[in-house]
């Protein structure tokens, strides 16, 4: 499996890009002497005009490069944690619905469908607006709007695995239902969940940046979306203030998507199985 993943150029590019972003996020305080909130120079300093401030300064004279580095922390953190929370909601719900069927399934699926019908970005806006923007409320809001696809995927996978004969064999071995679900069925649904999770982190990062762009970011955390939102009104005079954070988002999200696709090809190799007599 690793061999297949490693031979995928796109996926390896993704890994390198993501690793770079992670390293910058972790070592931001070491790389940059300035915090992202400090005024270090005159405002609107153009990029590449000063060696110590490679990407220039923003409307308040703060270091754009440092802001980008610290923004990576927020993006990655929110992306990762909200995905974990979404998995925590979606996996058990989908697993129970798919495994037990009947009324459990009916109820769980109506609930999921309801959340899937609601325009998810609008719901995220409403949630964050009402509960005050903090990292916790943003993360939770993103998790709340992203779990339904997980539940549907896990349900579908569990339903298909449940029909396989080894599950019947486990029943005949006298294993209890919960044990069969956890030990026999769920391990066989892990690969598609991993693929989906990696793509969800990417989507969550986009969602977080969109919320911050609208002014719904945590006021105590520097984030890429906030940078673009703050620079929106000065786009005519200082294009770089919105340009660089956008590139940072594209690179991070692209990296995660590439990794997700690579994982998908490596874990579900139904395309490479052909060519047998």
């Amino acid at each position: 499996m690793w061999k297949r993943f490693r031979s995928n150029i796109g996926a390896m590019v993704g890994v390198v890009l993501l690793a770079a972003v992670i390293l910058i996020a972790i070592f931001a305080p070491l790389i940059f002497a300035n915090t992202p909130w400090q005024m270090v120079q005159r405002p609107f300093l153009a990029p590449f005009s000063m060696d110590s401030l490679p990407l220039g300064t923003d409307t308040l004279g703060r270091d754009v490069a440092a802001q980008l580095a610290y923004g990576a922390r927020v993006s990655l953190l929110v992306g990762l944690v909200s995905t974990l929370v979404a998995l925590l909601i979606g996996v058990p719900l989908g697993a129970l619905a798919g495994f037990y069927g009947g009324y459990v399934d009916e109820g769980a699926m109506r609930f999921t469908e309801f959340f899937q019908t609601i325009p998810n970005f609008a719901l995220a806006i409403v949630l964050v607006a009402i509960f005050e923007p903090t990292l916790a409320s943003i993360t939770l809001a993103i998790a709340i709007v992203s779990w339904p696809p997980v539940a549907r995927l896990v349900r579908a996978e569990v339903m298909s695995v449940r029909k396989r004969e080894f599950v019947d064999a486990a029943t005949l071995a006298g294993l209890s239902k919960p044990r069969i679900l956890v030990r026999q069925v769920l391990p066989n649904t892990v690969s598609p969940i991993i693929v989906m999770a990696s793509l969800m982190v990417a989507t969550a990062i986009l969602l977080e940046s969109s919320l911050s762009f609208l002014g719904l970011g945590d006021p105590n955390a520097m984030s890429w979306g906030y940078m673009i939102g703050a620079a929106r009104t000065v786009i005519r005079s200082a294009w770089w203030l919105s340009f660089f954070p956008g590139i940072a988002i594209v690179i991070t999200v692209l990296a995660l998507n590439l990794i997700g696709e690579g994982l998908n090809d490596a874990l579900n190799p139904h395309l490479s199985r052909k060519g047998k007599a």
Binding site: E165, F166, D168, A169, L172, A173, G174, L175, Q184
Partner: protein, 537 residues
């Protein structure tokens, strides 16, 4: 007679990384006008590749390396694509194995037939429709006016295969290639389709290349036979020669593997029952809800039968007969709506879930699909010992027993530490048998346990079951759609149809003196039945 098709020294290369360099190696064959040539082989023998090469339907990466195929005085392998396309469907047509997926689900049957005329630019619109109706009539589909407007999902498997044949015959091809066209069908439907192909050959005088794995089918329709193995021809000759006097060891093995009229000697059966089913009923309800009517299917309808200790009872029926539901009800994977399942004094049908878990070990099952019946993420040891350990047997003891059982089923104890994907289909079925034995069951239910295997592997697994029956005095309920397989192993045979038990008796009684019409119909439909009878005589 004139030769319709002549294949000369055909070699087809597989892509790199395949299990062998050539799918087909130096194969030659010829089909005369009006003749049926059966190409016989197991999976991976290259028989389908040969056909696909003729039609220009080889999958990407698979290419003809050498040889030629002369048809209408041209080498069809090397024709330019445009000419190949003109040939396909016009003078050379093909039908496939899976009638359920071979038709476009979104197109009406009539349109799919008319399309053939359109593709080759024949006739006017209204003529095309008339021709399509005539074809539907010719392949004996009921109510042609309705069929022409129907979508594939509204037809049964047999009807779809007839529609496929109608399509293939549309432009009166000189050669019909049939790639396992009856394998996915029930025996009685198979018999009808075979008869249809024979009739059409008679009427139209076309040549037929018929690909199959089943020597019974060969006995029904072949004029000439070619046996292929691992991409090479191992035997060829007239049907009579090959069936009566096979030369190659492989052909002999294949022929031995399918049962002839030689029925096993009846054995003395014990008086004590291992399984007693009384008045068993199971009804499936589908639909229901706000606007949908409830549809009821009586999958098992008041069935009673007994399996004696040490007996192998064959349960035979076509798809939808309820045989599998009966088996699953007997192990209580399905809870019956009524009736009793008595095993060793307990009624499994009446137990609560908790009590049932403790009694599960009494009846075990060997499943159909060797690739689905083992958890791909669990080592063989775990698969076999899960049950015994749950029952309270100490881990050490259970593992020792598992190794012993793996030896017994012919795999060797070191198989325990490996994962399922390291084993072939036949080996996996052996593991499944070991897993069932590990529970010391009073009864084993084998649900189509050899149906997914190639004939020669099938024979090995049947041998193993026969051996175990002797050694361990196993009681087995052997569920199968194949009367020939049942005859090889079973003491008695029970025949089911539409949820009801039609007839039950010793193998001799069922085969030589069937009491019910349906049983007679089933026996007559068994491919190669006449030839079997000759063999018995």
């Amino acid at each position: 007679m004139s030769t319709t098709l002549s294949i000369e020294h055909l070699t087809i290369g597989l892509p790199e990384g395949a299990d062998r360099p050539y799918a087909v190696e130096d194969v030659s064959m010829a089909i005369e006008k009006g003749e049926i040539l059966c190409v016989v082989g197991e999976s991976g023998s290259g028989k389908s590749m040969t056909a696909n090469a003729l039609m220009g339907l080889l999958p990407p990466g698979v290419n003809v390396k050498a040889g030629r195929a002369v048809f209408e005085a041209r080498d069809v392998i090397r024709l330019p694509e445009a000419e190949k396309q003109a040939l396909r469907g016009a003078s050379m047509a093909m039908i496939f194995q899976e009638p359920m997926t071979a038709l476009n689900p979104l197109m009406r049957i009539g349109d799919q037939i008319v399309e053939v005329f359109a593709a080759h630019d024949r006739y006017t619109q209204s003529e095309r429709r008339e021709k399509a109706l005539a074809l539907i009539r010719e392949v004996q589909l009921p109510d042609p006016e309705k069929i022409i407007r129907a979508y594939p999902f509204q037809l049964s498997g047999g009807q779809r295969q007839r529609a496929m044949i109608a399509m293939a015959l549309a432009l009166e091809p000189k050669l019909l290639i049939a790639d396992e066209p009856t394998t996915a069908l029930d025996v009685t439907t198979q018999a009808q389709i075979l008869k249809l192909i024979l009739d059409l050959r008679e009427k139209r005088g076309m040549a037929v290349m018929f690909i199959t794995h089943d020597f019974g089918v060969v006995a029904e329709i072949a004029d000439q036979v070619i046996v292929m193995r691992m991409g090479k021809v191992v035997e060829r000759g007239s049907a009579a020669e090959v069936l009566e006097n096979p030369q190659h060891d492989y052909t002999k093995r294949l022929l031995e593997a399918i049962p002839t009229g030689r029925l096993p000697e009846a054995r003395q059966l014990s008086e004590t029952p291992a399984l007693e089913i009384k008045g068993l009923r199971k009804v499936y309800r589908t639909g229901g809800g706000l606007f949908k009517p409830v549809r009821e299917v009586r999958a098992v309808d008041d069935v009673s039968l007994t399996v004696a200790r040490g007996e192998v009872l064959g349960l035979v029926g076509e798809s939808g007969s309820g045989k599998s539901t009966l088996g699953r009800t007997a192990v209580r994977l399905v809870t019956p709506d009524g009736g009793q399942v008595m095993v060793g004094g307990t009624d499994l049908a009446a137990l609560s879930d908790e009590e049932l878990r403790k009694q599960r070990h009494k009846v075990q099952m060997v499943f159909q699909d060797p690739y689905a019946s083992l958890n791909p993420r669990q080592r063989i040891m775990g698969a076999i010992t899960d049950g015994p350990i749950t029952r309270g047997i100490p881990r050490k003891e259970a593992e020792a027993r598992a190794r012993e059982l793996l030896e017994i089923v012919g795999l060797g104890a070191d198989a325990a530490s490996r994962f399922p994907h390291e084993f072939s289909g036949g080996q996996r079925q052996r593991i499944g048998i070991a897993r069932a034995l590990a529970m010391d069951p009073e009864l084993i239910i084998a649900d189509e346990a050899v149906s997914a295997l190639d004939v020669s592997i099938q024979a090995q697994v049947l041998d193993l079951l026969r051996e175990l029956r002797e050694k361990l005095e196993l009681s087995i309920l052997f569920i199968t759609h194949d009367l020939r397989v049942a005859a090889q192993l079973c003491d008695r045979i029970a025949v089911m149809q539409k949820g009801k038990l039609v007839e039950i008796g010793t193998v001799h009684d069922i085969f030589l003196n069937p009491q019910q019409d349906y049983t007679r119909k089933l026996l007559a439909a068994v491919p190669g039945a006449d030839w079997d009878q000759q063999g018995a005589a």
